[in-house]
Structure formats: C-alpha cells, structure tokens
C-alpha cells in the first residue's frame, strides 16, 4: 500500500521519557502503516512500547523524532488548539482494556454511548437516540441493556458498549488496546465477532495485544514490537507460519495450541539465550 493512502502512517518515530541521565528510550525509529479497511495487529510483550505508540498517535505523549500522519495530516506538529479540534471531530477513537474503568459508572450505557454526539452538538434528542440505537445494534448490544449501568453488564457487553461509543463519531481510525485480554473465552468470541463485523472500507483498525491467538485470529497484517523497535512485520498468515526474528520465533514457539506448543522447553530456552545475546 502506498503511503499516500495510508490512514495512519507512523514514520520512524522516537519517544523517550525523562531527560539527560534519566533519559529512557521507549520507542526507537518505529514505523508502520494502517490502511483504510485494514486490521493491523501490533504485538509485543508488556513494556515493549505498544501503548506508548498508541498514546503518541493520540497526542498524549510527545514524539522526539519522526512523524505520525493521520489521514495525511501530520499530527506531530499540531498545536494545542489543533489537537482539541482534531479530538472533537473524533477522527481517532480509542478502546481500552478495561471498560469498567473507561465507562462512567454513574451513567447509563445509553448516555455513555450518546456522550460524544452531545459534546459535538447539533443533533436533536430523537436523532441522538436513534443513532445510539443504530450503533448498539451494530455491536449486537440488546436494547434493554442501554438502560443499565456499566456495573450491571458482563465484561463482554461492556466492551461492546465501549466499541459503540467509539464508533458513533464515525472515526477513520480505531485503536483497540488489549480489548479482549480481561474477558473469558465466550465474551472474547463475541467481542471479536463484533470487531470483524465492523470492518469497512473507510475505517482502519489498529489492534494492540500481547495475545498472539487473537492477533492471528482477526488481523490482516501484524507488526511485531520488541524493546521499542519494530523487529518484524508482514501478512499475519505468513508471519505466524514462518517467523524470522528470534523474538517472533519465540513468541510463536511459546504459544500453546490444543496440539501442543510449536517449540519444546529446550528449544525455547535456546531462543531466549539467543535473544539475550542480541541485546538490542
């Protein structure tokens, strides 16, 4: 895909926290793209910098080098007022791991989903209600659930409510950060089903997770992040079947399947030693 058409273009970014002696490089010249209609997985262990990249796209952490473009706009040069305007338009939406924390516990699910529309203004009450119902339906959230509080819903229902709220602004890019990690198997399937149903030509999805199973299950392409750098990326099917970098090989080789793990204990510890030698 050419860069001109990339919905999200992360180009060689560096992010560090602290300064001088306490300076810590979190992201080192990381780059990847998400095209319209695509689901791209960003996978890596905790501390690899996955969420930092997401926060950089949202303008929540500064980028020290490189560029991030969303629909062709370079957000790394945005002023404060440009960010406010950009956020109000809801071009990029973010879905967190734990919807119990990201949904206001004192608001009915209906009001939580409607909030972005009310903030934007200009829609009548009945139009808002109609839109909320439409989006709830898109994520398979039954109408009676809209009149409940987040605490009265299951984890999977809450996560689907959070997705409806993200969708209602008609974003171009949705970033999902570990959306199914806190869910049991049945809710996980429901949320991933809804996610796949949302795939459309105008929206790009960046799916962040440490869980290779769900990344392999729903993404078109996968970007592997290890210690702040992109060590491998490509079509998910190829990457899972034939991983190249030692970390990706360890990742795929550690993942349990019903027929066992691809690597045995000895092979895994050999790969760990190889990774330590690499030292990045």
């Amino acid at each position: 895909m050419s860069e001109a058409h990339a919905l999200l273009d992360v180009e060689n970014i560096d992010v560090h926290y602290g300064r001088r002696r306490s300076k810590k490089e979190i992201i080192r010249s990381a780059g990847f793209q998400v095209g319209a209609g695509e689901i791209v997985g960003l996978i890596g262990e905790s501390g690899s910098g996955k969420s930092t990249i997401a926060r950089a796209v949202l303008g929540l952490v500064g980028v020290h080098h490189g560029h991030i473009r969303v629909s062709g706009q370079d957000v790394t040069t945005f002023s404060g007022s440009q960010w406010r305007d950009f956020r109000r338009r809801g071009v990029v939406q973010y879905v967190f791991q734990d919807p119990l924390r990201s949904l206001d516990g004192d608001l009915l699910i209906f009001d939580s989903i409607a909030e972005p529309l009310r903030i934007r203004g200009g829609a009548s009450r009945s139009a808002v209600a109609e839109t909320v119902r439409t989006y709830a339906e898109k994520v398979n959230l039954d109408e009676p659930l809209l009149q409940r509080y987040p605490g009265e819903l299951s984890g999977g229902q809450r996560q689907r409510a959070a997705m409806a709220r993200a969708l209602i602004t008609q974003p171009r890019l949705i970033i999902l950060d570990e959306p199914v990690s806190a869910l049991d198997a049945a809710s996980r399937v429901q949320v991933l089903d809804s996610l796949l149903a949302l795939r459309s030509d105008d929206v790009g999805l960046l799916y962040i997770s440490h869980d290779l199973g769900s990344v392999a299950g729903i993404t078109d392409r996968t970007v592997v992040l290890y210690q702040g750098s992109v060590v491998e990326s490509g079509l998910t099917s190829a990457l899972v079947r034939n991983p190249q970098h030692p970390y990706t090989r360890l990742l795929v080789g550690s993942a349990p399947t019903l027929s066992g793990t691809p690597l045995d204990r000895g092979q895994r510890s050999a790969l760990r030693a190889e990774l330590e030698l690499l030292g990045v």
């Binding site: 905790s46 049991d184 049945a186 299950g217 080789g253 019903l258 690597l263 895994r268």
Partner: protein, 281 residues
C-alpha cells in the same frame, strides 16, 4: 492415563460431592463436584466465568467468602477431612500441604516490604529457620523459579517488578515450604505468552522433579492441553465432562465442551496453524 502420567497412587486431594451454597439467597453455586488428584498429577478445570471453578478452589483452601458455605460433600487433604480442621490445623496445612497462586500477583504482596523479606519471613515462621538460613533459602527459591538476579529481587519492592517476575516471586513463596499440591487459578492469564511459557515450563519441572501435584484452573484450553493429565469441564456449577485431557480436548462428548473448543479454535492460533507446519527452529 496420559503420557504425562508417571504419578503415584497416593491421593493428595480428594473432593467428593461438594456443593456450595449462598446462605443469603439460598442459591446453589456449585452442584456436586467430585475429583481426586494423585501425587505428581495435573488436573485442569475449565469453564466460563461463573461456572464455579474458583469457588471450588476456595472451598478446598478453606477460604470461601462470608455467607458462602460448603453445604454438602467432603474435601480430604492427604487423607484428612478438612471439615474437621481447627484454625491451627489450617495454619499447619497451608503452605506445607496445599498452596495457591492466583491471577494478578501484585495484589498478594505487601507493597511496602522488600520481596525477599516477604518470602524469608514465611520460612522463619513456618520452618523455624534463622535469618541467615532463611535468606539463603529464599535466594535459592528465586533462582529455582528462574528469576535472573535473585540478590537484586530480594531487595526490590512490588512496584519495581514486571507481572511475570512478580508471578515468579509468588510461585517461589507458594512452593517455599514444599507443598504436596499447588492450586494455580488463572495464574498465567495476565502474562505475556513468552513469560507464560516460562512459568508453565517451571511448573512442569516442579511436577517432574519434586512430584508436585497441580490443580490448574484456566479458561485457556491450550494451556490445559499443554499441562494437564486430566481435565474437568464445569458449567453453571456442574461438572459436565471429566476425563483424560487428550480425550476430552480431542474428542469431546458434551455439547458444552465442544462449544468451548470451537470458540477456542475460532480465534486461537489453532485456526491458523498446525504445530507441525510451523518453521520456527
């Protein structure tokens, strides 16, 4: 049993007809669960949240929440009926005979005491070791759970460690007194897959080397497949299927087990790859 099964015939844990009831609503939460775990054997329990997996574990450990009671059935630990245990019996048994590791290791450690102290304290109180002996034993345990720098970890606090490292500290604590059986309730669920593999490898090592019995609760069928000799499938407080792991996971009899497996395969790695196909070496 399966090819894992070089376990003995000593029954470490025997659970018979256990029913658990909410005293207030009178609802039956666990409706008659029976199984036994032999020395060196690994039994897995799978089921969705609310199926009664964790309540069963807590009943075995004698730590059910208030107003939730074992209404019927028996739990025997090394042939002793836990219903007859005094407070002191429980203190003697916990850590020595039975131990547990749960999800979210951070919440089981004291944030303001150095990690080494938290483990060596247990050894001093329960094993009567001296300060120096306890420290040496703690460092040995930290090395045994593959913490890379035991001396450093000994001096660290909870907030300085990653989830995987904390889970290892918790396992070190759980095995410090050489228990006969370890309950691991979603113990690796929150961990990265590479770290999870290291922890599971460690549990297998303890099982093979020390004859540790394991009761493994997980919603991840692949984890169960990797470790367990036998598996128990629970749904709404009932056991719907129970048998050798290979048979249950590869030719499930109950409709619910089939559903769990199809859900797993839908978005699991299994959907993509067969182990033989992967070229990682």
């Amino acid at each position: 049993m399966s090819e894992h099964g070089h376990h003995s015939t000593v029954i470490v844990l025997d659970v018979q007809g256990v029913r658990i009831r909410n005293e207030v609503s009178n609802a039956e939460l666990v409706k008659g669960v029976s199984f036994s775990v032999h020395r060196g054997q690994t039994l897995g329990i799978v089921g969705e949240s609310g199926s009664g997996k964790t309540l069963t574990c807590r009943a075995i450990l004698g730590i059910l929440p208030n107003l939730i009671q074992v209404a019927d059935g028996t739990v025997d630990l090394l042939g002793r009926r836990t219903a007859d245990f005094t407070k002191q019996d429980w203190i003697d048994v916990r850590g020595n005979v039975i131990s547990a590791v749960f999800q979210d290791p951070g919440s089981y450690q004291n944030p303001s005491i150095r990690l080494g102290k938290q483990v060596s304290e247990v050894l001093r109180v329960k094993k009567g070791l001296s300060r120096k002996e306890a420290k040496l034993e703690t460092l040995r345990l930290f090395a045994a759970v593959h913490l890379r720098d035991p001396d450093l970890v000994y001096e660290q606090y909870v907030h300085e460690l990653s989830g995987g490292m904390l889970q290892r500290v918790l396992i070190a604590t759980a095995i410090a007194l050489g228990p006969d059986i370890l309950i691991a309730d979603e113990a690796t669920t929150a961990l990265d897959v590479t770290v999870q593999a290291e922890i599971l490898d460690l549990l297998m090592e303890l099982k093979e080397r020390d004859g540790l019995s394991l009761l493994l609760v997980s919603h991840d069928l692949a984890v169960i497949a990797q470790l367990c000799d036998e598996v128990l499938v629970m749904k709404s407080g009932e056991v719907v299927e129970h048998g050798p792991a290979r048979e249950v996971l590869h030719s499930p009899q109950h409709e619910y087990t089939r559903l769990l497996i199809s859900e797993h395969e839908r978005y699991g790695l299994d959907r993509y790859i067969q182990v033989e196909e992967v070229d990682v070496v």
